[in-house]
């Protein structure tokens, strides 16, 4: 296991002096997709914002690739870490497409083609962005982040604009990018179903880590997760409860198989 990012004793408060993190510690494994989940207002987006810029005033330290993030200059940091904070209202669409076009004009023609094709944006390329679906604008923002990052891509809650089917496709694409471009992804979501596509899951609550580990193992802790205000994906919720009643002996994600096990 290679750790790419380490957060040690992070302390951060909002402008109104309310503390969001008091002593947060976590690590992120290289070349993995990590989900950071938690109820609304638990600090998921704030955490990504603190990671997205290396100039935030905070206590504690954030280490990336063995170096405190404040020791990187802005250019180095931007090449290393890119963030997607979905916002279809403020997006400067023209600028975004121009940036991607610049990659095409330069050395990354093949990379651009591949990413746009995988995200099903290639046929949209010459169409006016004002006619794009919100999910396509979000995918364009993800494309830009992947093109510009050489190490870590942060993605904040895409489920607001993308359907379940689109989300599944995006995760399959991100998995391909890990190998192809040596990337690490950190993704926030309130929807724990998304964690099933990922390698590692953190659940935040009251500014600290409530649970951490392999998503399937973490999701078995149904009581703790429910208390944190989160919904457990249906098949896991059902399996865990059936296990408690000794009706099955392992978590089953396939509904057909579960039905066959219950009613032989």
């Amino acid at each position: 296991m290679e750790v790419i990012l380490n957060i040690n004793n992070l302390e951060y408060k909002y402008l109104n002096d309310q503390y969001i993190f008091t002593n947060l510690c976590l690590y992120i494994e290289k070349n993995k997709i990590t989900t950071i989940s938690g109820s609304n207002n638990c600090g998921k987006t704030t955490l990504l914002k603190l990671l997205s810029i290396n100039r935030y005033q905070k206590k504690g330290c954030i280490i990336i690739n063995g170096k405190d993030i404040t020791d990187y200059n802005q250019k180095e940091y931007n090449e290393m870490v890119q963030a997607v904070f979905p916002n279809i209202n403020n997006i400067e669409e023209k600028q975004l497409m121009d940036e991607i076009q610049n990659h095409t004009n330069n050395k990354d023609e093949e990379k651009v083609k591949y990413i746009l094709k995988e995200l099903e944006l290639d046929k949209k390329r010459n169409k006016e962005i004002s006619k794009w679906e919100p999910s396509e604008i979000i995918k364009l923002q993800i494309a830009k982040a992947i093109l510009n990052s050489n190490s870590i891509v942060l993605i904040d809650s895409i489920d607001q604009y993308c359907s379940k089917k689109e989300i599944e496709k995006i995760y399959l694409f991100l998995k391909k990018c890990i190998e192809k471009y040596d990337l690490t992804f950190i993704i926030t979501s309130v929807d724990l179903r998304e964690s099933l596509y990922t390698d590692d899951l953190y659940i935040l609550n009251n500014g600290s880590i409530l649970l951490h580990g392999d998503p399937l193992k973490v999701l078995e802790k149904d009581n703790i997760i429910n208390k944190a205000g989160l919904k457990i994906p249906f098949m896991i919720d059902l399996s865990v409860k059936l296990k408690d009643y000794d009706l099955i002996n392992k978590i089953e994600l396939d509904e057909g198989k579960l039905i066959d096990t219950l009613w032989k």
Partner: protein, 238 residues
């Protein structure tokens, strides 16, 4: 009110919560826009009503801009703003906060408060429950019920997720690929599960599971929306 559009006919129940389920929400929003201009009723569409721009200095400025932009000219502007905040359950001190400093659920409450400023008859919300935790989803549903019952508004929720509107006492209308499929209460919708499956409407996972158990193993379990109820039924029938 009855809506007719290209040989489709369906009903929006006045002073009730209506849930429209579609796999093409954007097409439906365009349809709603045309319907809102054609009728005499005042309609506010969220998030179309306003783009919450981070360039506003604070929440108060956001209210002032909306009042000015919609030419509302209230007698007492501050009272109007505080009333709207109170209805959606936001505290007065949010007014001084920047839009970057409020949470996503507060932003949704704020959008509804801004919609209420013009005292609309109908409020159309697009995917109001997305990115929301369990607790906030309950709070938001409670808020919609209050707006419907106490303030006699009509609420229309447009969503891709049938599950999010099946849980509550909504009038439900289902479209697939822009074609009207069915409308009714949740009980009437579930009675027609074969029709929904025929049109490949995505069912809530719990409903799909019960349907498959009934179909494949002829198990007699009732359709429920809560895993705990389902477990009791399974325990009885295995």
């Amino acid at each position: 009110m009855e809506i007719k559009e290209n040989a489709m006919k369906y009903t929006i129940k006045n002073h009730k919560m209506n849930g429209i389920v579609t796999n093409h929400p954007n097409d439906l929003i365009s349809l709603m826009k045309s319907f809102s201009t054609e009728t005499v009723e005042k309609t506010e569409i969220i998030p179309e009503i306003m783009e919450i721009k981070n360039s506003y200095k604070n929440v108060y400025e956001c209210f002032r801009y909306t009042i000015y932009n919609k030419q509302l000219f209230p007698k007492d502007e501050n009272k109007k703003i505080l009333d709207a905040l109170r209805i959606v359950g936001l505290k007065e001190d949010i007014l001084s906060l920047g839009l970057m400093d409020i949470s996503s659920s507060e932003k949704k409450q704020l959008q509804i408060a801004l919609a209420l400023l013009s005292n609309p008859d109908t409020i159309i919300l697009v995917e109001p429950f997305k990115s929301m935790d369990f607790q906030n989803e309950k709070l938001m549903t409670f808020l919609f019920q209050k707006i419907v019952e106490k303030f006699k508004k009509t609420i229309i929720i447009i969503t891709e997720d049938l599950e999010s509107v099946l849980k509550n006492d909504n009038h439900i209308i289902i479209f697939k690929n822009d074609k009207f499929i069915i409308e009714g209460t949740k009980e009437e919708i579930i009675k027609n599960i074969e029709l929904l499956r025929k049109h490949k409407v995505i069912l809530p996972e719990i409903i799909e599971f019960i349907y498959l158990a009934k179909k494949r193993k002829n198990v007699r379990i009732d359709y429920s929306y809560d895993v705990r109820d389902l477990i009791k039924d399974i325990y009885k029938h295995v």
